[in-house]
Symmetry: C2
Subunit: 241 residues, 2 copies
């Protein structure tokens, strides 16, 4: 299995032809998995906000004051969220409108021009599907596309890349009913392969280089249609909410 | 970057020469990262228990009865843990004696002979260091070694591979103070690269094949001495305990 960094030196802007940039940067093969950083999808889709355009609510002002944070960014976090899950140590963990549990609703000031922030794509499954279809159309290659973002997690230090949108793959590889090497049925084991692919991709994408995409080649998977919702643990099955 | 599966068809037993098996299975190069499944380390170190030898306490009997689980396994889980973090839906999440937050203290019946379970290695940093030193001695190649296990996580469905022991690498890649492409200092971003490397390795190791090791080649890292403790979030910084 290979993980190939795909470099795009151009700063991505609204309505740029991402697929064109991708296929001009690296040869795409059938069954490649393309992992694409959320940041360039957000920029391409215009999910970028100038902070001077935001008028914070009194709640956002209050939270901003308490945590010494920009109340305009708090306002955006609240807009992008269904609810606040935890708020402490100056960290705001929310459930986003799409159901992801993450800090700051995925709103990010890094790698974007001064005075602006990026929001998560409205629907990253749709973003992934669009690029997958365009690649099929332009190159006749059938790939899978995963949109990734960098999330923290409880219990363990550091962040890892996780999937927030998917097209052409089941994000979970389920071993239920499979036999182990001793012919015993494996205990319940379902691997979040979409998240593992994002983590693998992050190792070559890094944070500061112009490498917002990685191609994973030689990973054996079935081409199927699933939604990222399969990766979101329902609240009533979650011991930590 | 390449991820190379390393096949070992022999069933690992107590005191087997793992390093010998590794270097006879695949050529090792300088700066390779070897990710090794906890299961074979536990077997090699004799961290395998015959259930008929266990006399469960009354507490273990009680929990076993409530959750319809083998009270001897519950007894082992309690022995291997500092405390129970959550217990619900028949799932027991503990803090292990080494500080990992995981289900069942990492005790596992899969891929082990009938009537036996494996426990996590006593100190996986030591296990990793031993193999790293032996590889250096036998092949003159300087590698990093990570011991991995499969953990669930809150919020998201499915399990991913995580690091439980490390030698020759800082498990966290810290971007604090680094500038982004707009010359802004990046917000706090520290990537748990050891976990990402384990996740990448899992994609080729899978669960049922005789592939308990993966070599990651071409990953650019500094050879340093750090402990897995750097990946464990202190309780007072954890919003979900």
């Amino acid at each position: 299995m290979q993980i190939i960094p795909l470099y795009i030196s151009k700063e991505i802007e609204f309505n740029d032809d991402l697929t064109h940039l991708i296929i001009n940067s690296e040869k795409i093969l059938d069954a490649d998995v393309l992992v694409i950083a959320q940041k360039i999808i957000s920029k391409q889709e215009g999910r970028i906000v100038e902070l001077t355009s935001i008028v914070p609510s009194l709640l956002a002002e209050g939270i901003g004051s308490e945590y010494k944070k920009d109340s305009r960014i708090i306002e955006l976090i609240l807009n992008e969220s269904k609810k606040i899950i935890r708020m402490d140590h100056g960290i705001i963990i929310v459930e986003t409108n799409n159901g992801f549990i993450c800090a700051n609703a995925g709103i990010d000031e890094s790698n974007v021009k001064h005075g602006f922030v990026t929001l998560l794509p409205v629907n990253s499954d749709v973003s992934a599907k669009k690029i997958r279809s365009e690649i099929l159309k332009k190159t006749n290659k059938t790939v899978s596309v995963i949109i990734s973002d960098t999330f923290g997690r409880p219990f363990r230090m550091g962040q890892t890349n996780c999937a927030i949108g998917i097209s052409g793959m089941n994000p979970i590889l389920d071993y239920i009913g499979t036999k182990d090497t001793f012919e015993k049925t494996l205990r319940v084991t379902a691997i979040a392969i979409a998240d593992e692919l994002c983590s693998a991709a992050e190792l070559v994408m890094k944070k500061t280089a112009n490498c917002p995409i990685a191609i994973i080649r030689g990973y054996d998977f079935k081409n199927e249609n699933f939604s990222i919702d399969n990766l979101i643990r329902p609240q009533d099955e979650d011991l930590f909410r």
